[in-house]
Symmetry: C2
Subunit: 251 residues, 2 copies
């Protein structure tokens, strides 16, 4: 049994609370939310607006905004607990050194409105001592998740890579949406293609999965596409990404 | 019952042959492949290297390369058949006008190595006469697919939009792969995020689904990310897409 206190009420906290509540080998001691009454998730634990003085959990998870982590950790009294944050971009050492410190970063885009199978999320863990790593590994396992030891520097790289696959891919979808709108076409037509593009790289590398006019160096189609694009920024993005694909594939 | 002849042996032809073969209401008359011996798919039809003189099918589908469509259609004798191509970017009128002409464009990325559920693919259809549109609609239905009447001009816009969601998203995955490689991180860690990013816009619009430092105008993180990127082109792509997200969201 691993005892856990969770701090925060944002998107990550919401999904973590749900997973902690469901895990049979986790004792969910306390959920700290700035405004307990605003918590709209039913869980089998006490929801409070403060940590209190005596922390009894083995792990305290800070699922709060990046900017609040250092200050919150400084405000806590020292204890035997392992203090971890869930951020992709905050260094472990930004937390006050009076605590045993670690990181428990679920690498997924989480929003309250959308339920995800928590067990599919890889957890990036970090800690200063072997026993703390073991404890975080056990916690991930209790939630049904795989975990990987990732240094703070590596985590920064992962966070950057995540911007490309998540925010920037999503912007590709957005530009496509603007194109379909401009021709009074239903964006829904592209949805199976969007899903398959993501599904393909679960088995093939992105290098192997690439297709299209840039890869084929199909100048006629590329020229026509550029002419079709009324938006100057979209034209620039098309040119730069076409060039990027051709560089990747040595063309 | 709809009778069909298929011409071609590439990726689209391969998947179409499989779907035609399985559809109970389709009579798959003939499969024309340049090299019948190289066809490595078992189907319940004759595989031949030529169309022959007497075309008996109601529909002949040209699933051949874009550049070959005009010439192939010109080389065919006129008949009562409806001649359609499967290309996203070839105009209906590029086919010889001695034929009844149409388009049957499956909007999906297809490769022989990867099986897809054909029934999830939207088919973009086009024809000059109502009865031909009805016939193509029935064919799509027989394959379990939804279909939509799309003009040649709209089809060009869809093809362009597909480059953004498919080729360019895939290049985002590729750049992420280069970033994880450079830190000796496993690209697999990003796979659930890639899938979820695509799954999210099946329910939310890309506008609603956007998150991240560009949207939040989080200058500190953006600056650090740019510093992290060793590759000058990746830096340029990061800057331009960050700007694009901020323009989309009026920031």
């Amino acid at each position: 049994m691993i005892s856990v206190t969770l701090v925060g009420s944002g998107n990550v906290a919401h999904h973590l609370a749900q997973a902690l509540d469901l895990a049979p080998e986790v004792q969910f001691d306390l959920w700290v939310a700035r405004n307990p009454k605003a918590v709209d998730l039913k869980v089998n634990t006490i929801v409070s607006d403060g940590l209190g003085d005596a922390i009894k959990s083995q792990i305290v998870i800070l699922a709060i905004s990046d900017d609040a982590i250092a200050e919150f950790s400084a405000s806590m009294s020292p204890s035997d607990t392992l203090l971890v944050h869930t951020s992709g971009s905050v260094n472990l050492h930004d937390m006050d050194k009076k605590h045993s410190r670690g990181v428990f970063y679920p690498l997924q885009t989480l929003s309250k409105k959308r339920s995800v199978d928590f067990s599919t999320i890889p957890i990036c863990i970090e800690a200063l001592e072997r026993k703390d790593l073991d404890l975080l590994q056990s916690l991930a396992q209790s939630l049904g998740c795989s975990s990987k030891i990732i240094s703070s520097e590596q985590r920064l790289a992962l966070h950057l890579a995540a911007v490309f696959v998540n925010n920037f891919s999503n912007q590709m979808y957005r530009i496509a949406h603007e194109i379909t709108d401009s021709e009074r076409l239903d964006f829904d037509l592209l949805k199976p293609l969007i899903l398959e593009t993501a599904a393909k790289v679960q088995y093939l590398s992105p290098f192997q999965a690439q297709t299209g006019p840039a890869l084929r160096k199909d100048r006629k189609t590329i020229k026509r596409h550029l002419k079709q694009l009324a938006n100057e920024n979209h034209r620039l993005i098309y040119e730069i990404l076409t060039k990027s694909i051709q560089q990747t594939h040595g063309k």
